[in-house]
Point group: D3
Chain length 68, copies 6
């Protein structure tokens, strides 16, 4: 499957923190960490586990840039 | 300045592609590339140039996860 | 590929209106029409054409509800 | 009221699943289903019930396209 | 019409800057200014003009908070 | 720190309503109120309290316009 989102980045699940309905999934991207907030339901449906190979999908318009 | 967005990731500007009003800024994040779509106006105001140290700011709820 | 977005809806491309950098793609969803705004670059990479079978991918948190 | 969002689609509430603070509302759009994630508070304020006529409001830039 | 977005704020159009396809609309909110980026098409359909009474509609999850 | 988001608006925290994992923070913007939905974790990290001076950060593309 190919998607119109500009960012489809390979990573590895580092940690999954499940809340009541929402989970925070920490993804290792060649050393950097990206946190995704998705539903617990999605975590289960995708079969996510620590160490799993995943793709972080982010629209380019959802990436802001900050400078010090 | 601190911000409520969960992802504030250090990177380096790799390339800036200016369009008519919108620019695509490619940011190197420890080897991976993240593309941000921001206004040309923002590129100028932030003084972005190839090689500049920046932070990619992304809300956790804007990060989706895909698996093959 | 499976994705964490709650809405992955089957549809057919009805019309593609390319602008300078952004395209509006009208997708027929069992009679209703959903418009997606994506880059011209994505239209080309995905090989989109009128009549193509596609999936509209929308996060549940990006769907608002209005009542009269 | 008219709104700048490109997608204002007529539908019927099919099911409401209330969580602790967030509800998932399933909307029938001429046979297809779109899920909206809104606050329980909004469900109450809008007086949403199964069978209610509603509009799903989605910005075109929040619709991604995927192809197999 | 009532909508599930938490922020529906009364304002007055201060300035409209049309680009090739996208317009920046500056809205005065009791002295503060909020900028909306919408399509030129929406500007025309809504009949927006300087001085027009409008509502800025923003989902609560799209508002970030920063502190110095 | 400067950010690419078009709206960085000065305000004062009016009220903080913590939920299980998400907080609604009401910000006074020269008389108008903007509600932000952020994680409880962010509220703590930013040290938010009633009366605190903050900035509401909103991308221009996340502001819709409605007219009656």
């Amino acid at each position: 499957m190919k998607i119109s989102a500009r960012n489809v980045i390979d990573g590895t699940v580092k940690e999954i923190k499940k809340g009541v309905t929402t989970a925070h999934v920490l993804i290792d991207i060649s050393g950097a960490t990206i946190t995704a907030s998705i539903t617990n339901e999605s975590v289960d449906e995708l079969g996510l586990k620590t160490g799993a190979k995943v793709k972080a999908v982010i629209k380019a318009s959802d990436v802001m840039i900050a400078v010090s």
